[in-house]
């Protein structure tokens, strides 16, 4: 019997298994990201990094809701230049690093990508889909032509694969994915959080300081699965599924819909950083029990007629 492999190849990026942390989860600290890797992730994703340090929104920045979490952190980050040393330290520790990044303009996206690419990251994840900074950042990812343009600009300077993380808060996500692919994206991450809000009946006020926030966790999963499904039918580049993955079963669902890997975020709240190893072991058992040799054998299987 041949050895079962959990390794995956995403646009040339070889990972020991198909799990990563979702951007924004623990990614502001090098030692915490190392802990994510030690918890079993195939690679780690940094907090979204911008051109200059940002403090983000005031608290409350997070509130739990039915089936998940709403957050409006507001992209706090120390800036891409500051994070170069953190990336180098992680690389020195043997941790594969995906740098999530953003900008307010196409030029800023390109400059930040250049800084992070030069720092030696293994891949870039272009975040044009944060729902919590719409006014400042314009949410380029809501528009097909903008997505294509920003992706193309980043691809000019990137020495590594570029993943483009898309928003579910659009009419047709597959159209945006097509724009990213035309711009030269190496993979699509689908999806970011869904815009929502929470109100308290005693205070009679919105709970989040930012009023609206991004919904993540199990409540997001059906939406994210649908996004992956539609994108898989539209583009030829790999997809990284993200949205409500809590256990191996969720992860396998994303793989079957067409994702080559998954990102896990909110589940860290209940299951800790060990969630990565648990999901990976579950995927291994699933492959084994069902007679598959490697992860890619089940990618997109649900599409077969």
């Amino acid at each position: 019997m041949s050895q079962l492999s959990l390794a995956v190849d995403i646009a040339g990026l070889r990972l020991r298994n198909p799990t990563m942390n979702a951007a924004g989860v623990l990614g502001i600290s090098g030692p915490l990201l190392k802990r994510v890797y030690e918890g079993g992730a195939g690679a780690v994703v940094t907090k979204s990094l911008g051109p200059v340090p940002r403090e983000g929104h005031h608290n409350p920045t997070l509130v739990t809701v039915e089936g998940g979490v709403l957050n409006a952190m507001g992209l706090p980050n120390p800036g891409a230049d500051y994070f170069v040393d953190v990336i180098r330290w992680l690389k020195g520790e043997g941790v594969p690093v995906v740098a999530s990044f953003f900008g307010a303009t196409i030029e800023e996206f390109r400059d930040v990508a250049c800084t992070l690419s030069d720092a030696g990251v293994d891949a870039l994840e272009l975040n044009c889909s944060c729902p919590n900074v719409v006014e400042e950042m314009g949410m380029l990812g809501a528009d097909c032509l903008n997505t294509e343009a920003v992706t193309a600009a980043v691809k000019e300077v990137a020495k590594t694969p570029v993943f483009v993380k898309l928003s579910p808060n659009v009419t047709d996500i597959s159209e945006i994915a097509r724009g990213a692919e035309r711009g030269g994206a190496d993979a699509i991450t689908a999806c970011n959080t869904l815009i929502g809000m929470a109100v308290d009946v005693d205070m009679r006020r919105p709970i989040l300081a930012n009023t609206t926030g991004g919904l993540s966790g199990p409540a997001l999963k059906p939406v994210a699965l649908r996004c992956v499904w539609e994108i898989a039918k539209t583009v030829d580049i790999p997809i990284i599924g993200c949205g409500g993955v809590t256990n191996w079963r969720d992860a396998v669902e994303f793989l079957l819909c067409g994702a080559s890997a998954v990102e896990i975020g909110t589940a860290v709240m209940e299951r800790g950083v060990e969630v990565f190893g648990m999901v990976v072991e579950g995927i291994r058992s699933y492959l084994e029990v069902n007679g598959f040799k490697e992860v890619k054998d089940i990618v997109g299987l649900a599409h077969e007629t």
Partner: protein, 274 residues
Amino acid sequence: MSGSRMKPDTLRVRQLVDVTEEAGDMVSLYFRDVQCSQALPGQYVMIWVPGVDEVPMSLSTIGRRKVSSVTVRPVGEATRYICDLKAGNMVGVRGPFGNGYTLECDLPLVVAGGVGAASLTPLAESLVTRGVRPTFVLGARNEEQLVFRERLKNLLDEGLVLATDDGSCGFKGFASDCALKLMDERQFDVVYTCGPELMMALIFRSAEDRGIQVQASLERYIKCAVGLCGSCAIGPYRVCKDGPVLTTDQLKVVRDEFGLQRMDPSGQAIKVDH
């Protein structure tokens, strides 16, 4: 709404049943909450005041007659606003969060600096309930700032050691100096401490030299409080979830940060200055 089955991370709004002035301009806010009445000493809650902020606060009373409290020192805009709240006003509560202190010990020394007494007073009460009588150093800048003095005196009597920086009451000098003197004079197996980080770092190093275990309650910039965002990281630990209480073994891991540097709200390292 008030059911005990509700998860602690669910936000609920509680009416303040009492607001009392403490020493040194500090204020205790009392509210009824099932989850908080079952908290461990050293756990904290996030207190939300709409339009102002949501801030982490150690529980200074845990469930006495079903009422719990937080004790606030007016240091910034949000805490000053919170200190002006009155009985009848409402606050949002999330938590209790974090690990709390571990109660196993035989000869504990407790060292509180300033508002650090908030989390250590319920600890002392729990220890006494378990039949252990701690030596408790209550330190402050001057006599007027000695918070929970009567409550601790009634609980511990001779076990309470007062220390003031200016010598206006008890030991003259920092609480850490007083603690070091006690560690040289008497036998302890655990030191519990909460207060200014420079004080705690000094106590940690001194206790480490003497082979005494430490449990220190740390303060960092807490946003999510549920271990997701990482804004409160110290080394590989999340103060909001793995802490706020770190043990000697953990403090050794973060030796290069503890008492030296912390992250600002953007994630850049800044110097610990108090």
